[in-house]
């Protein structure tokens, strides 16, 4: 019977400790429901409106820049307080979506420009036309970017930053093989010719690769470069199985056959692991990437003597079309302070803030004027200006490929077909035909919804 008493005692102790835990919890910040943070509390006291602003810019480089922009805004007027929160890259949008579904979203979120129209269609992002009627700021941005934010003619996000693809080449290597380091390749044929010269073989292994088109970018960039248009038009017309795309695919296949599976895979796995990059060490003579790749060269391979150029064109006159993307500032549907959010977005995408962002982060911005100014800014080192100017110039060649609403996930059908071609398991003709059929079917299905 003593055991029984002990048992009762144990029960009591258990209950007691659970109570104690609850008590401790109620004192802990993480367990206070409805607790307002300092910014909000302070703002409330002053009768200000708090605008919740989510970005994925948490790094030691980006964060101070965005917070300075926020701070400037907060100082500039006395009705709104913007509160910046860092939410990790990629997952930020899962969280945003959940918050929209729960009816309690933030007021401004940085999101992918390619899905802006799609989010407009799904009523995740707010239709901004009402605000744009009052202050039309659309002329601030590159037209191509602005276009991408439109769904049925209305904008659902304001462009913030952007990127493009340019060709980096190793000037020393050019010189070594007797190429003029000031004359990068201009056409696909030249590209191939130069690459052959730049290839350096030691027995069976390459000491240096001239160029491989699918390092740094995917096949779609080259198809865009060749054809000048997206695979699926905004109207839902599928343009995959075309003569131009077939030529491009054959061209890509030639490269693959030139270097062989093993060489390509080995270098690609290095580049994909986002660490060692053979371009830094001169093991790859030409490489396509974004302008911000320059900062990596600057920081990790400062002695590299390199140049930048537009992407070569398929044949003379076909156009140096490049590919880009970017981010927009959007107001999620259900935001409690859209008016104030709009005020902040205007500040965020205005010349001053954009130029500051561009210079401090070395990033391409959506605001045309700011981009031009940044390239000449005295705050940007001369060396940095060269690449930046190339990037700005390249913007007129740059196309975006926003998700076509008729088939937003068509790449899942196209990618494996192209893979099969590059693996030698399908002819380019057959692959494009199959992809065309599969994507057309997807468009049909989506229409019937």
């Amino acid at each position: 019977m003593k055991n029984m008493e002990e048992n009762e005692l144990f029960k009591k102790r258990l209950l007691f400790s659970l109570m104690a835990v609850l008590l401790v919890l109620s004192g802990c910040a993480g367990f206070q429901t409805g607790k307002e943070n300092e910014v909000a509390a302070e703002a409330d006291a002053e009768g200000k409106v708090v605008v919740d602003f989510w970005t994925f810019w948490g790094s030691e480089i980006r964060r101070p820049v965005i917070e300075k922009i926020v701070e400037d805004f907060n100082k500039s007027q006395d009705e709104i307080v913007v509160k910046h929160t860092f939410v990790p890259w990629g997952d930020i949008w899962t969280k945003e979506l959940a918050a929209i579904a729960a009816g309690d979203p933030p007021d401004v979120v940085i999101n992918d420009i390619n899905a802006t129209a799609l989010r407009g269609q799904k009523k995740q992002a707010m239709n901004l036309s009402e605000f744009l009627e009052k202050d039309d700021i659309s002329a601030r941005f590159y037209p191509e970017l602005w276009e991408a934010t439109l769904y049925e003619g209305d904008s659902y996000g304001i462009p913030f930053n952007t990127d493009t693809r340019i060709l980096y080449y190793n000037k020393d290597a050019f010189e070594e093989v007797g190429l003029n380091p000031e004359q990068p390749p201009k056409t696909w044929d030249e590209l191939k010719e130069y690459a052959a010269k730049l290839d350096k073989k030691n027995g069976d292994t390459y000491e240096r690769l001239g160029f491989y088109p699918l390092f740094g970018v995917n096949y779609d960039v080259w198809m865009l470069n060749g054809s000048g248009h997206n695979f699926v038009s905004p109207e839902g017309e599928v343009q995959i199985d075309t003569e131009t795309n077939l030529e491009t695919l054959n061209w890509l296949l030639e490269w693959k056959n030139h270097y062989g599976e093993n060489v390509v895979n080995s270098v690609k796995s290095q580049i994909d692991s986002q660490q060692a990059n053979p371009f830094f060490t001169g093991k790859l003579a030409m490489f396509v990437n974004t302008p911000t790749f320059y900062t990596q060269i600057r920081d990790y391979a400062p002695d590299l003597n390199f140049g930048v150029a537009m992407l070569p064109e398929k044949e003379e006159g076909s156009g140096h079309t490049s590919w880009g993307g970017g981010f927009v500032a959007e107001i999620p549907e259900g935001s409690s302070h859209p008016e104030e959010a709009w005020e902040f977005i205007k500040h965020l995408t205005d010349k001053e803030a954009q130029e500051y962002w561009a210079v401090k982060n070395y990033d391409n911005v959506a605001n045309t004027e700011a981009a031009e100014a940044a390239a000449k800014s005295p705050d940007m080192p001369e060396k940095d200006q060269v690449v930046y100017q190339t990037a700005v110039d390249n913007m007129q060649n740059t196309l975006l490929t926003p998700f076509p609403l008729a088939a937003p996930d068509f790449p899942t059908l196209l990618n494996p077909e192209i893979d099969n071609v590059l693996l030698g398991k399908k002819t380019p003709e057959q692959a494009l035909k199959d992809a065309q059929a599969a994507v057309e079917q997807l468009v049909e299905e989506n229409k019937s919804k």
């Binding site: 048992n7 367990f31 994925f56 790094s59 997952d91 959940a98 660490q275 990596q296 391979a301």
Partner: protein
């Protein structure tokens, strides 16, 4: 004759042991080499991390990477937050699951099999289709931006741990329980006095699993916590990952720091397994 028989047995044991040891050593090299890569990266400069071909040993050992990592975000605060959540989750998981599992394993009641099948079923639906409705649910409870969604469910059992502990309770002889019942002991008493002690290794396993789960949880805090002051270590580590590039050396240093308590915990909890070993090989 008899003597030599035992001798050869002993010799064979010795050989087996040596083979075992060599096998384990070789295996450890395989298991450790990725870890070495982490350590090595954490000590390199970014310039070296990005060099090609990759170096196996850092050229310079930049120990201050660890300090810089720690200063890159309020990691002190994040540690306190993570510890708070983790302790509560572990307490909840160990206490409640053991209790529930005992019920499923040792008390016959109507509908037990069906209910147990439901327990298993809850594991089979992928988390992200219930993510949105669950978020909405917690929002309606007013639990957003608190730790409640991370901690409270732990006090209501988890299918994985219930199943695990049930399997261990199933090996406890029924006669033992019945005998105790005859003497008038309640199930609660038997659970505490017989069940818990007999399943200690399993409870230790549950504790370790729940600790790791809560410590490394990323999606939970990401979704439910809005205030950066309430962020956890795993969220903090994300500052080293950007949309374009990653600060590998800091990320690895940070990951290693975060890993350390997990290793220490395992070291500490091992005694629950080692005790058993002494029982087995103790006949020297």
């Amino acid at each position: 004759m008899k003597q030599s028989y035992f001798d050869s047995m002993k010799n064979r044991e010795k050989v087996l042991k040596a083979v075992n040891f060599i096998l384990l050593c070789f295996g450890s090299l395989l298991f450790l080499s990725p870890l070495w890569w982490m350590i090595s990266t954490s000590l390199k400069t970014m310039k070296e991390v990005m060099s090609f071909p990759p170096t196996f040993f850092p050229k310079e050992w930049n120990w201050d990477n660890y300090i810089k990592t720690w200063e890159a975000a309020p990691f002190d605060l994040y540690t306190i937050n993570t510890v708070t959540i983790t302790i509560l989750v572990v307490v909840g998981q160990v206490l409640v699951n053991s209790f529930v599992a005992y019920g499923f394993a040792k008390i016959p009641f109507k509908g037990r099999e069906v209910l147990f099948a439901i327990v298993l079923s809850t594991m089979m639906i992928p988390g992200f289709v219930t993510l949105i409705p669950q978020y909405v649910l917690f929002a309606n409870l007013g639990w957003l931006n608190t730790y409640y969604p991370l901690v409270v469910p732990a006090f209501f059992g988890s299918a994985f741990n219930i199943f695990l502990l049930r399997q261990f309770y199933m090996t406890v002889p029924n006669e033992m329980i019945e005998a105790a019942r005859m003497e008038g002991a309640s199930h609660f008493y038997i659970w505490r006095k017989i069940g818990i002690p007999l399943t200690k290794p399993a409870l230790a396993t549950v504790a370790i699993f729940s600790f790791n789960g809560a410590w490394n949880d990323f999606l939970g805090p990401l979704l439910y916590v809005n205030d950066e002051n309430l962020y956890t270590l795993q969220l903090g580590l994300q500052v080293f990952k950007g949309e374009m590039s990653t600060q590998w050396n800091y990320l690895m240093a940070g990951s290693l720091i975060v890993l350390l308590p997990v290793i220490l915990l395992f070291f500490f909890f091992q005694k629950y397994f080692i005790k058993g070993i002494n029982l087995q090989s103790g006949g020297k």
